[in-house]
């Protein structure tokens, strides 16, 4: 962005703040002090109002008396015209801080013979400036003079003198001029004003008129060079460059329930952050409005206020439709907690909408604002215009700590790409999708993005029930994502399958236990046989032997075999019986290859 945010530290040119909302941010402080500024544009673009606001705000806010020289409108007309902006010119005149002077240029009764000068005008301006000690002067449509004098070469010389004189007087001047054919001004007076040129425009695009302002030139100062939309409202002009509101909102850790408990869980247990901006996008009929309504319902049930800006449905339609899914918004409207503002976007220009919405928010002071759907604004402006307007709306709402929920109708094809401009703005982005199959379509919801939250990555099936919104797990398996009846069937199948497997397992356990018993019995029998055999072998060996020692040995061995506790007195057993082999199946008998 080329709007100089910190231009104040850099620029040394003294400036006169205009008090026009947004303009001073754009120019880093206002118009060049003590110098003339040219404000030009076509008829009806707001030149006179710009100039008048500069003058009146100068008086009321910056304590700089002013002079308004009107070539076009009479004093009476001027007073009436700006009264709608809340400017009370007669009072300022009485207080001696404002001079209104209507100068008529009447060519019909004037003949020119020879040399002349505009001293009369200069003396007249000088007298007016001295009368109130003016620091600011407006000359509204100076070029009217060209209709009054035949000798335009002489007039140009005199105009140059006029501008030099204004600079000498050190008054901050605003000169307005009508746009010419292919030129900035009809008579090229921009050549005399070299310090600052502001161009206003009023264009109709797709049957919608948008006013725009551009600082064409600002000698010795940084300034925003873009065209900025501006608005004429009941409180004067409002130029709102995107960055004018800055990013200095205070943030809240507080969560606000979405009204859907499982959605709160998906958002890391709690819901949206208070003061955050939420976008719900999806194709037609995915339940975006219902989610919005549910959020309003949750908000109002906490006793907080919500404003619902609807651009497609009337309030009555929304109330009826939401009642069918169990969301009773009627009670909140009756309780004064919920307000519907329903209008078609094509009714007004973007700027006017923005202003109307901001005023509604200021008046109603809600905790939640719903705009359903913001994509409708694309009928009024281009994507970039809408994004700029929404940025300002977001900034405005954030600065007030209002939680905003926008819905957006997206196309099926590549919704992610088409929405980039908007999605970078929002803090939380919920995506609702359609899934078709098995002769039905089902809704899927997931959290595409959520700043500052440990949000779920799961896709949930989104169900509109008679009791509101419910979220269900989807089945993700070898057959892909299953929703709707396919999910239910799968769940049932899984349940059945699970039971069967459990039964099978139990059966197998029983069988295994049986097997173990069989093995134990068998082992025991084998050992018994072995013992018997060993005993026989021992007996045979002792009978075959001669000598007492041997016999004694044998007795001892036999004793051991039988587990005799009495020690054999003769001698320690030298021949351990091969009985009871250690039940040690470990690394027995290393095999040598």
């Amino acid at each position: 962005m080329d709007v100089p945010g910190s231009a104040d530290q850099l620029q040394r040119l003294p400036k006169s703040p205009t008090g026009i909302s947004g303009f001073d941010e754009l120019t880093g402080g206002g118009l060049p002090q003590g110098r003339p500024t040219l404000v030009c544009g076509p008829a009806g673009c707001g030149k006179t109002l710009f100039a008048m606001e500069f003058l009146v705000r100068g008086i009321t806010e910056f304590d700089e008396p002013g002079v308004f020289i009107a070539f076009e409108e009479s004093e009476g007309d001027l007073v009436v015209n700006v009264a709608s902006l809340g400017f009370d010119l007669p009072r300022l005149q009485e207080e001696g801080v404002l001079v209104l002077d209507h100068i008529t240029v009447a060519p019909a009764e004037t003949e020119e013979t020879g040399d002349w000068g505009l001293d009369g005008l200069l003396l007249r301006l000088g007298a007016a400036i001295d009368e109130v000690g003016a620091r600011r002067i407006v000359i509204d449509t100076l070029e009217t003079l060209f209709s009054g004098f035949a000798d335009s070469a002489r007039l140009r010389v005199e105009l140059r003198r006029l501008f030099a004189w204004l600079k000498d007087r050190g008054v901050t001047a605003v000169i307005t001029a009508e746009r010419g054919d292919g030129t900035l001004t009809r008579h090229g007076i921009e050549e005399y004003v070299s310090d600052c040129v502001v161009v206003l425009d009023h264009r109709v695009t797709d049957q919608n008129s948008i006013r725009r302002l551009r600082v064409l030139k600002y000698r010795g100062s940084l300034h925003g060079t873009n065209e900025y939309p501006f608005l004429i409202s009941e409180s004067g002009l409002s130029v709102m460059p995107i960055t004018s509101l800055g990013l200095q909102h205070t943030v809240s850790d507080e969560r606000m329930s979405t009204g859907v408990p499982r959605l709160d869980l998906m958002l890391g247990d709690g819901g949206f952050y208070r003061g955050s901006t939420v976008l719900i996008s999806g194709t037609a009929g995915t339940g975006k409005s219902t989610l919005a309504a549910q959020f309003c319902d949750a908000t109002c049930s906490r006793g907080e206020r919500a404003v619902y800006f609807a651009f497609e449905e009337s309030a009555a339609e929304i109330l009826r439709n939401m009642a069918t899914v169990g969301i009773d918004l009627h009670r909140w409207v009756d309780a004064g907690l919920l307000e519907f503002r329903c209008f078609r976007p094509s009714l007004l220009g973007l700027e006017a909408h923005l202003f109307a919405m901001q005023r509604a928010v200021t008046e109603f002071d809600p905790a939640v604002v719903v705009m359903d759907p913001v994509s409708d604004f694309l009928r009024v402006g281009t994507g970039a215009d809408v994004a700029a307007m929404l940025t300002r709306q977001v900034d405005f709402l954030k600065s007030r700590g209002v939680t905003a929920l926008f819905t957006r109708l997206s196309s099926d094809t590549d919704p992610a790409n088409a929405e980039q401009q908007l999605t970078s703005l929002v803090d939380t982005w919920l995506l609702v999708k359609h899934q078709e199959g098995n002769g039905e379509h089902n809704r899927l919801l997931y959290v595409r993005k959520s700043r500052g939250m440990a949000h779920s990555n799961q896709i949930r099936e989104f169900l509109l029930t008679a009791q509101g919104i419910e979220l269900a797990d989807v089945y993700v398996g070898p057959q892909g994502v299953l929703t709707g009846s396919a999910r239910q069937a799968q769940e049932a199948a899984e349940r059945a399958d699970g039971t069967a497997r459990l039964e099978d397992l139990a059966q197998r356990a029983v069988e295994l236990e049986r097997h173990r018993e069989a093995v134990q019995q068998q082992t025991a029998r084998l050992w018994r046989d072995f013992d018997d055999e060993a005993a026989i072998v021992a007996r045979l060996r002792s009978e075959g032997d001669t000598g007492d020692e041997d016999r004694a040995d044998q007795r001892a061995a036999q004793g051991l075999l039988r587990g005799a506790a009495t020690p054999v007195s003769d001698a320690p057993a030298t021949a351990p019986a091969p009985a009871s082999p250690a039940p040690d199946p470990g690394p027995a008998a290393p095999v040598t290859p």
Binding site: T113, G114, L123
Partner: protein, 122 residues
């Protein structure tokens, strides 16, 4: 143009130095009341006055009054009388009001502007 040699300092004493408007022969429709707005003693002012005087003497001898108003002395009159350019000559009488701006150096155009009859009458 810058040589008002004929009547140099006449302008200083100008306001109402010449016969009273509404004086002796004033009331008839043939009396001319002219007002000349100037800004200071600029060469332009001086030449305008001398040009005007010469013309009046030639055509309206005895039945005219020239009132000179110096806006530098009375700047508020610029507003009340709606004067932008100087010098401005205003024919207040006979009606209707007519205005001529410039130093009046082009006598023919001044005659046309003031609707003066050609001097043939005399």
């Amino acid at each position: 143009m810058t040589g008002p040699a004929d009547r140099p300092p006449a302008v200083d004493t100008a306001p109402d130095a010449v016969p009273d408007p509404g004086g002796d022969a004033a009331d008839d429709a043939d009396f001319w009341h002219l007002r000349l707005y100037v800004a200071g003693q600029s060469p332009r002012s001086l030449s305008a006055y001398s040009n005007l005087s010469a013309l009046c003497e030639q055509h309206l001898a005895g039945r005219y009054a020239i009132e000179v108003i110096d806006l530098e002395q009375q700047p508020s009159l610029a507003r009340t009388d709606d004067i932008l350019a100087v010098p401005t000559l205003v024919r207040r009488l006979p009606a209707p009001l007519r205005r001529i701006i410039g130093d009046l150096s082009d006598a023919d155009r001044v005659r046309i502007g003031l609707r003066l009859q050609p001097p043939a009458s005399g």
